[in-house]
Amino acid sequence: MKEDYIETLRQQDTNLRDAIKLEEEALPPMPADLNARLMQRMEEERAKVIAKRRRSRLLWPLVAAACVVAMIAVFLTPPKGTDKDGATAREPVAMKVEKPKPEKKAVQQEAAQIVPTPSEEKVAEQPKVKRPVVKPTQPLLAQEKPVDKDIATEEAATEPIAENTAAEPPHTEMATVTLTERDIPITRPENYKYTPEELALMKQQANEAFLKWVELELEISKYTLEKMAQK
């Protein structure tokens, strides 16, 4: 219905049709050389396409060769960390040789305990000394009554003890020495690098400190809770 009506309009609107016809006739003429220019442009486009094809024909073999070379390189190159010339195997040995510092460890342990020593070596090699039980030279009030015989034997017995104590090495009497700056490892340039043992120890100490802090926090919170409960 609508299409029919539109078709009738086409026949009916004579004024409009005439006007459009006149307008179309008044349009500027097509330039005579326009088609020639178009064909020339078309030739140029064709030449471009051919050149592009040639270029791609030349390029593809090179790309393929490069891909093959890359693949070969990938397959032939051993992955990182494998023993190519035994270099990686040697590395840890070199590391081990470089940094064995057992003395420092002893010093650090001491620093942690805050028990000062006169010298590092002595502390490390300090033997455990058995101290003999020293009996009192004067008899106790309860023991005053016994016979003089006993006293004589006692005196005899004390003498060798005194001798033994005199024979003891001087280092057993541990003098309290405060740590100097040179004993603190971090201030010495040669101690900037820590051995794995040192690092492990420091880690352990840090962990312990953290655990203690957590325990303290727990205690505090427990205490506050109790206080609150009491209130």
Partner: protein
């Protein structure tokens, strides 16, 4: 729908034959140029777009579907789209009549028929003047309908719109023309 000459020409175009290209340019050149120059503001721009249209036709000839439209309609579609794209891309300042108040819509069909229907040379001149105030798309639409006598379905294919929309646009453009004429007379 497609003649034997056209079929051979299309085959030649698909093979990239310069002879077929030359033949096509000679056959449809004038039609394409008129369509382009109708939409664009200057001949120089029309020449540029004209060349682009044919290059596009030659390069995309394999996309032509015979069952959807005639070859001429397909070429018209490319020319129309290229021109509209050019206009949108350039964004040139052009002033056209826009029926923002809806006054043209309120005109009765009898008034429109009286203005556009009865043959009158004076009114024809007024319509020609009024046509210049229409936007390029609308001018192209009524030219395709009244001058090239294309069916609404073909116009819809060229403009890439549903046929109903094209019908509505035609009615609206007629009323708009009438309103412009009234304004010119007053």
């Amino acid at each position: 729908m497609v003649t034997d000459i056209e079929t051979n020409m299309i085959e030649g175009l698909k093979e990239g034959s310069p002879k077929a290209q030359q033949m096509m340019v000679e056959r449809y050149g004038r039609h394409v140029f008129n369509q382009v120059v109708r939409l664009l503001p200057s001949v120089e721009d029309a020449e540029e777009v004209y060349q682009d249209v044919f290059l596009k036709v030659f390069l995309n000839i394999n996309r032509y579907e015979e069952e959807k439209s005639s070859f001429k309609t397909w070429v018209s579609r490319i020319a129309y789209n290229e021109s509209i794209t050019w206009l949108r891309h350039k964004r040139q300042q052009m002033i056209y009549f826009e029926d923002e108040d809806g006054e043209a819509e309120r005109l009765s069909e009898a008034e429109v028929e009286a203005t556009l229907g009865h043959s009158d040379p004076e009114t024809v001149q007024l319509i020609r003047a009024a046509l210049k105030h229409l936007p390029p798309e609308e001018r192209s639409l009524i030219t395709m309908f009244y001058y090239e006598e294309m069916s609404v379905k073909d116009i819809a294919y060229v403009a890439d719109s549903p046929p109903n929309t094209i019908g509505s646009k035609l009615f609206r453009t007629r009323k708009k023309l009438c309103k412009i004429i009234q304004m010119l007379q007053s």
